[in-house]
């Protein structure tokens, strides 16, 4: 090999870090049985790579080299620290003895499994929901604590604390590093998908100020879901990916350059990303034909109907209402009922939609949810009942803090005042 300068090697190692660091970490966590030990070991391995590869060239299998080096670094580390802690030599010996089993873990399939183990551990239901999100972004996506804190508008110290606590609980409570068995899988997968969807929504629902970092969250969620789908091609994994891709296809169209909200019916559909739509629709088709479908797939199917309609008026509302009926069977929540009401209003007229919304509110559900009141206001507006519409928009306005939504509602109120 020709001499490589340290600068060139820096670039090579950075590239390997970008593509391999999460896999290396996932395997090291399994081999070392400890998140922090594994993270230190991985950093040490990459530091060693920079020095050693410059002299000896890049190994044939950089990932295997990094895992093996990281593991030896960890054992060294434990031995050095053993002078201060009596329990550590035992651990170092155990790790050393495990070296024989080591070669078999480096095959491609085994490492894929490690990342799957990692995501199930990070999203374990015994961890607090905020901790699952933070840990997943930190360990699976490799985001720094500062990046995660910025995206979630939290103090880095708070977020770091959350991650430390979660790691302690994983260790002290004995949360396993494994893919759940077939019996537990559906329930546990739901938790993982929920974390991914929350990350996506965090990046999708806000649209000003922090928009840059937040859009990154959506793409992290999509990337994570793609990875999960490779390892675990379950119907709902396809469904969620389809749902996010179809939402993502409308990102540019759903706000004005000034950051104002544009409702689906008013969006310039030529701005929709056709490539994302095609991929999303193909996944919906695949999920529906595989079955049995869950709530993410049905929501993706609804989104797919919208995506193929040339305009709001030319949308197959019948199909959409039918899909909402299906969704109401699977997950009968007031929010789904509200969305169904909006679709019913498009199919049968505003009175029919209004009746459903009034029934939800009369039951005491969604009374503090701004979108329930703005949907209700919209029905009144379309019925020409300006006073009722105004009252409902005002109520919605009082219930939301999101700046783009406030501007939208204020705009509607002004239109009614004319």
């Amino acid at each position: 090999m020709t001499a490589t300068t340290i600068d060139q090697m820096q670039l090579i190692v950075e590239e390997v870090y970008r593509t391999e660091s999460r896999r290396v970490l996932a395997t090291l966590i399994r081999l070392l049985g400890d998140f922090d030990l594994a993270e230190d070991a991985m950093q040490d391995a990459f530091a060693a790579a920079l020095r050693q590869w410059s002299a000896e060239g890049v190994p044939d299998n950089p990932r295997a080299w990094l895992v093996s080096t990281g593991r030896f670094k960890a054992i060294d580390n434990l031995r050095r620290r053993a002078r201060f802690d009596k329990s550590l030599p035992v651990l170092a010996e155990q790790l050393d003895e495990a070296a024989d089993e080591f070669d078999e873990v480096l095959d491609e399939e085994g490492i894929g499994d490690d990342r799957l183990r990692l995501i199930f551990t990070c999203c374990h239901p015994a961890l607090a929901p905020e901790a699952r999100i933070a840990l997943t972004l930190r360990e699976m996506c490799g985001l720094t604590t500062e990046e995660i804190a910025r995206a979630f508008l939290t103090k880095p110290a708070t977020l770091a604390q959350r991650i430390v606590r979660a790691k302690s609980k994983i260790r002290d409570a004995g949360i396993p590093y494994q893919v759940p068995g077939p019996e537990e899988l559906p329930e546990r997968l739901e938790t993982v998908l929920h974390v991914i969807y929350l990350v996506f929504n965090e990046g999708y629902s806000a649209s000003s100020g922090e928009s840059l970092t937040r859009a990154d969250l959506s793409s992290e969620a999509i990337r994570l879901n793609r990875l999960l789908l490779q390892m675990l091609p379950e119907t709902e994994v396809m469904g969620l990916l389809a749902l996010m891709l179809l939402h993502e296809s409308r990102r540019v169209a759903r706000t004005t350059p000034g950051g104002d909200l544009v409702l689906l019916e008013d969006q310039d559909r030529s701005l929709w990303d056709r490539e994302l739509i095609a991929e999303g629709q193909a996944l919906v088709g695949q999920a529906l034909s595989r079955g049995p479908v869950g709530p993410y797939t049905v929501q993706a199917a609804i989104s797919a109907v919208h995506a193929s309609a040339p305009s709001a008026a030319e949308t197959s509302w019948q199909e959409i209402v039918a899909l909402y009926d299906l969704l109401m069977v699977a997950t009968p929540t007031p929010i789904i009922e509200l969305n169904r009401a909006v679709a019913v209003a498009m199919l049968e007229g505003p009175e029919a939609g209004l009746a459903i919304i009034e029934a939800i509110l009369a039951r005491g559900d969604l009374t503090e949810y701004h979108l329930a009141h703005s949907a209700r206001a919209d029905m009144y507006r379309r019925l020409g009942k300006a006073d009722e519409a105004r009252a409902a928009y005002t109520r919605a306005l009082a219930l939301t803090q999101l700046e783009p939504e406030r501007r939208f509602l204020e705009g509607r109120l002004q239109e009614l005042a004319v």
Binding site: H124, A126, D172, A173, G174, I175, P176, Q178, P180, E184
Partner: protein, 117 residues
Amino acid sequence: MKYLLLIYGDEQVWDAAGRAACYEESAELARELHEQGKLLGTNALMPVATATSVVAGGGKRVITDGPFAETREQLGGYFLVDAKDLDEAIEIAKKIPGGRLGTVEIRPVYEVEGLPV
């Protein structure tokens, strides 16, 4: 790992027949766990009305009637188990009959050195 599975529930929701059936099923679960080598101990507790607390205060131990905390759900019994990991402990917790109408809290045991076996 050792886990203590604490069974909490509202004592009022159990009638005599339900309670008797619960004890019978619990004994069966205990036998099953024992055969698998996972049971370290289990007991049902007398109602919270029988509880006495010894509370430290003002440099002495004061004796009071009643449990440590007045809550809607009371500690009614426990299983001490040896499980591979938290997932196995959760599996066992889900099977505990006394948890059907309440909560089973899973606490990993901290191993203190020098305890008699």
